[in-house]
């Protein structure tokens, strides 16, 4: 893609959002779609292989799988939902965490090199159509519709006049903003991260190979070094964003189940 952009002339053309929309691989199947399916295959294979030979004393591979499972189960689900109710949600939280994690990490794996969550459709599908209905659904099932809405919209312990101000904010936050920001957060982090990596890499390439002045070549190398540094930062952000998504999803579910907050 960079080569295509550069081929057009001597001037540096900074990468724009087009880098996220590669031409379809075949038919209307695009790279992120393939990656998404690949991620499902990878995760399923990982856990199925691990689950087949589970031993009391774990092997190295089983220990790795258990660490991922433990992290989702204990550090996210149990921590956020509470040890009483968390068990039914372990599969959901585990799936959310691993799914987003693997799709984010695709941004760093050579050849794949594309974080599928930088296409907003995927994270929004998860946040709006999976987490959102589950979260309010379990709340309504636990408390009944009326009691649940009352609990969510009119938090107890507030003077009545304040409700005029507080309740619209609560509705706006819990029923509109929370699910949207949940998805957008991952999307934005992956989108900007990928853009920054591409920018530093292409700029370095341009400065080293294309620019007329030799003086600029060292700057180009500096730019590549920055790209490497940003790659490490990006790796951190990718893991962190997967954790944040799963953690917030669990947190919303836990909040909906709790008696009051």
């Amino acid at each position: 893609m960079g080569a295509l952009v550069l081929a057009e002339g001597g001037d540096f053309v900074p990468p724009n959002t087009d880098i996220f929309f590669l031409p379809p691989i075949f038919g209307s199947v695009t790279k992120p779609m393939v990656l998404l399916v690949l991620s499902v295959l990878v995760i399923v294979a990982f856990f199925m292989v691990a689950a087949r030979g589970l031993k009391i004393v774990p092997s190295r591979f089983q220990f790795m799988a258990e660490s991922v499972y433990d992290f989702s189960r204990n550090n996210i689900a149990r921590e956020q939902i509470g040890s009483k109710d968390f068990r039914p949600f372990v599969p959901l939280i585990l799936s959310l965490f691993t799914f987003i994690l693997v799709n984010n990490l695709f941004g760093l794996i050579p050849i794949l090199q594309f974080p599928s969550m930088s296409h907003i459709g995927f994270p929004l599908a998860l946040s709006l159509l999976v987490v959102y209905p589950v979260w309010h659904g379990v709340g309504i099932r636990r408390h009944g519709l009326g009691k649940y809405l009352k609990k969510e919209i009119f938090p107890p312990g507030v003077p009545v006049p304040v409700y005029f101000l507080l309740s619209p904010i609560e509705v706006f936050t819990k029923f509109i903003m929370n699910p949207i920001t949940l998805g957008v957060r991952v999307f934005a982090a992956m989108f900007s991260g990928h853009l920054i990596l591409v920018l530093f890499t292409l700029a370095g390439e341009y400065l080293v190979f294309e620019s007329s002045s030799l003086m600029l070549a060292p700057v180009g190398i500096l730019s590549w070094l920055f790209a490497i540094a940003m790659t490490f930062l990006e790796a951190l952000i990718m893991v962190l964003q997967a954790f944040i998504f799963a953690n917030l999803a669990a947190g919303y579910i836990g909040r909906a189940l709790s008696e009051d907050h």
Binding site: E8, D18, S28, V40, M48, A51, Y69, T98, F99
Partner: protein, 184 residues
């Protein structure tokens, strides 16, 4: 041409507007993932955790049991040891007492033997002395008479007188004898 294609692409795709196809694909693939993990992976992991917890708890219990048993054995052993010590002390005391007894018995026996031997010796001595005295008495009687008849020159016919003289002499001798025997 490339430029126009890119330009078109940029117009078609707005990065903040989700595409329907991606939403559907995202939902379906996540659904499959969720289903598989829910049905196959999570139950196995949970079962493993349960088993592991049970095993660890069982192990702890077993260890506690073993410890209690060891404690019991130790106490039993100690008790046995004390008993054995008491027993050995008792046996030693008994042996000592017995030895004492045997020693005393032997001592008494020896003493008895000694006194018996002494008594026998004395009796023998007494008998011999009596015999010698009797012999001497007989000899002395005869000798004295013979001596007297020689000195006097006449035979003492009168038996009664003869006996009276000898007896008187012997009585006299007898009263002096113990002093003479003691000196000997």
């Amino acid at each position: 041409m490339v430029k126009s294609e890119l330009y078109l692409a940029a117009e078609e795709h707005n990065p903040v507007l989700p595409e329907i196809s991606e939403i559907i694909l995202g939902l379906v693939s996540f659904g499959i993932l969720l289903f598989v993990l829910w049905k196959f992976a999570v139950p196995k992991f949970e079962a493993l955790y349960k088993e592991r917890t049970a095993k660890i708890e069982g192990g702890i219990e077993k260890a506690e049991q073993a410890q209690a048993e060891a404690q019991r054995a130790l106490e039993q052993y100690k008790a046995q040891l004390a008993e054995a010590r008491a027993e050995s002390a008792r046996i030693r005391d008994d042996a000592r007492a017995e030895a004492e007894q045997i020693k005393a018995d032997l001592h008494a026996q020896a003493q008895e033997e000694a006194s018996r031997i002494i008594a026998q010796g004395q009796a023998q001595l007494e008998a011999q002395r009596a015999q010698i005295v009797a012999e001497l008495r007989a000899d002395l009687g005869r000798n004295s008479v013979e001596l007297a008849s020689r000195i006097v020159g006449e035979s003492l016919e009168d038996e009664a007188r003869q006996r009276g003289t000898v007896d008187r002499f012997l009585a006299e001798l007898d009263s002096n004898a113990p002093a003479g025997a003691g000196k000997k």
